[in-house]
């Protein structure tokens, strides 16, 4: 697995490069597979002085919506066992304000910027994609489908294969940018959704978004969050995320970007071995921002120590049916008979 050239030096440089949109002429080539997740790294500028953003594989912006949003009332966050709940409510300047403000900063950066987009109607996703199509500084889109579809009575796009597919197709038709579709863990069958968005033209899928949770303030005798419910993230959700990445990686041929509770090398390796080509780090950025860069270094060390020439050599190694796409749903459910 290790080439002559790599071996010649005292330490070879493992190959980290990953293209997350191999079928797209505009491609999405990352120098390494470590990406801060949407909502956890602001617009790439907030961690200056703490994280060397230029060393990252890429970063994903906070979710952008068609109109500006001031977000939910406070409190918006609370801690849970090995996790946190957030109900930020997609506070953002709206697509127009966003385009004016941030891509011009990113234009000179060498790290690719991925823009996360959210909407409550299929047309709105398409409109945003069209507006972003040729904005310098924008490398790719990540489509957040964990949003309520207004025309479906508020049912979440990401829980339904048809609705997920519609959003994906609309975005695909509106832009030539690489399109990553971010899956919701609330779907009863994440495989079905992943296959639907692959068929609809997604260049890659990312998962998981947050689970829906609640904490109750037992002194005030009401939910802690003003919004009542919030999105659960952090190490607590990692086992659910690894399972879903494993299942999706069996069922699609496009790259899978894994996330959910990653806090260091061991976690990241779990996702790669389950079948992720790249990973995102969300909540752990808050607790250990320095971990982002350390993770890139640790990954290099680990590949060298294990004499693995390329990260791609371990992608899916724990997953015998990786990229087989022939797995039947019933087989996967059968495996899920647990206790």
């Amino acid at each position: 697995m290790v080439t002559e050239e790599q071996q010649s030096g005292e330490q070879w440089v493992p190959d980290f490069t990953v293209d997350l949109a191999p079928d797209n002429p505009r491609e999405l080539v990352l120098r390494n597979p470590v990406i801060p997740a949407s909502g956890c790294f602001g617009y790439g500028i907030e961690y200056s002085g703490i994280v060397d953003v230029q060393r990252l594989g890429a970063f994903v912006s906070k979710g952008i919506t068609p109109a500006p949003r001031s977000g939910n009332p406070m409190p918006r966050i609370t801690e849970t066992p090995s996790g946190m709940l957030n109900a930020i409510g997609l506070q953002n300047p709206g697509i127009r304000g966003f385009i004016r403000k941030y891509p011009p900063i990113w234009e000179s950066w060498r790290v690719p910027a991925i823009v996360n987009i959210s909407a409550e109607a299929v047309e709105d996703y398409a409109t945003m994609a069209r507006m972003l199509d040729d904005v310098p500084g924008v490398a790719a889109l990540e489509v957040n489908i964990s949003c309520p579809n207004i025309s479906a009575g508020g049912y979440c796009f990401g829980w339904d294969p048809v609705m997920s597919s519609e959003v994906t197709r609309a975005v695909r038709e509106a832009t030539t940018l690489p399109v990553i579709v971010k899956l919701s863990p609330g779907a009863v069958d994440v495989i079905e959704i992943a296959q639907a968005v692959e068929d609809a033209g997604a260049d890659a899928v990312s998962l998981i978004n947050t689970l829906v949770g609640m904490s109750i303030d037992t002194r005030a005798r009401k939910p802690v969050l003003a919004n009542n419910t919030g999105g659960l993230s952090g190490p607590a959700v990692k086992p659910v995320a690894v399972r879903m990445v494993y299942q999706v990686a069996q069922a699609v041929r496009i790259p899978v970007i894994g996330m959910g509770g990653i806090s260091g090398l061991a976690d990241a390796l779990e996702f790669f071995m389950a079948g992720a080509s790249a990973i995102q780090v969300g909540t752990a950025v808050f607790s250990e921002p320095g971990m982002l860069i350390r993770l890139i270094d640790d990954l290099g060390e680990w590949l060298r120590a294990n004499r693995i020439a390329s990260l791609s050599d371990i992608v899916g190694v724990a997953n015998p049916r990786f990229h087989s796409t022939t797995v039947r749903h019933s087989e996967i459910v059968a495996e899920m008979v647990g206790q």
């Binding site: 602001g42 002085g49 703490i50 001031s70 801690e79 250990e288």
Partner: protein, 274 residues
Amino acid sequence: MTELASPTQHPTGWSREFIGEITATEPVMGDSVLVTFTSPPQLAASCRAGQFVELLCRTPQSSDPLLRRPFSVYATNPARQELTILVRPFGRGSAWLVEQPVGAILDVLGPLGNTFTVAPKSKNLLMVAGGVGAAPLLMLANEAVAKGMNVTYLLGAMNAGGLLAPGHLPGEVEYIVATIDGSAGRQGFVTDLVSEYVQWADQVFACGPEPMFRSLRREVLANRFAAKPTVQMSVERTMACGVGACLGCMVETRRGMRTSCVEGPVFEMDELAW
């Protein structure tokens, strides 16, 4: 001990996440503890009153509690390259922190946030502290006294045991206390003392719980006989990132939502949406 403490780096260089080693702990105010730890020299030197640090409050073997906890800086010692915070054992994180012995290693992010702003023409500063709200105001009192200003420092607590010993404040400061049970100073709330000083003060600085802020505001607005002093308040919000990235710690102001970790924790009273 400092991970990235190259002295050539900019104060806001890559060093704002660092490893500190506890060099001293001192019980104060009943069950609270002053925790002193090492920091990169430029951080200790650049830190100003009102700023805070975010600490991980768990062992490296555990992922729970997950989030950092913010603590106001109580004192800096640039010569010794140290920061001091005042910790009240309250819930999971602070209870862990007050148990850490000298020599323990802390994972620190900071200093973060804005600072109290003393107007150049101010002479008389009134400080109103409740409980561990004492911390950032103690640092401010030290800064102000060093500049030759007059400082009156009001502190409230449940009882005498919950007060800061006078020796912790610079001798030039007029230190007046109130306790709920009357075991020291005036019996009642710290804000009951405010009316006597509000006409004297050019600026008021406050840190404490939400109800204290409400009473303080009433006291200040009730003062109809002189120009009202401006009031700066250090507000408390649950925080995740501490750097403006998560939008979890917002404060509602007259000009919209503001991050309390970057645009705060110090806000002008008149800016806040009451």
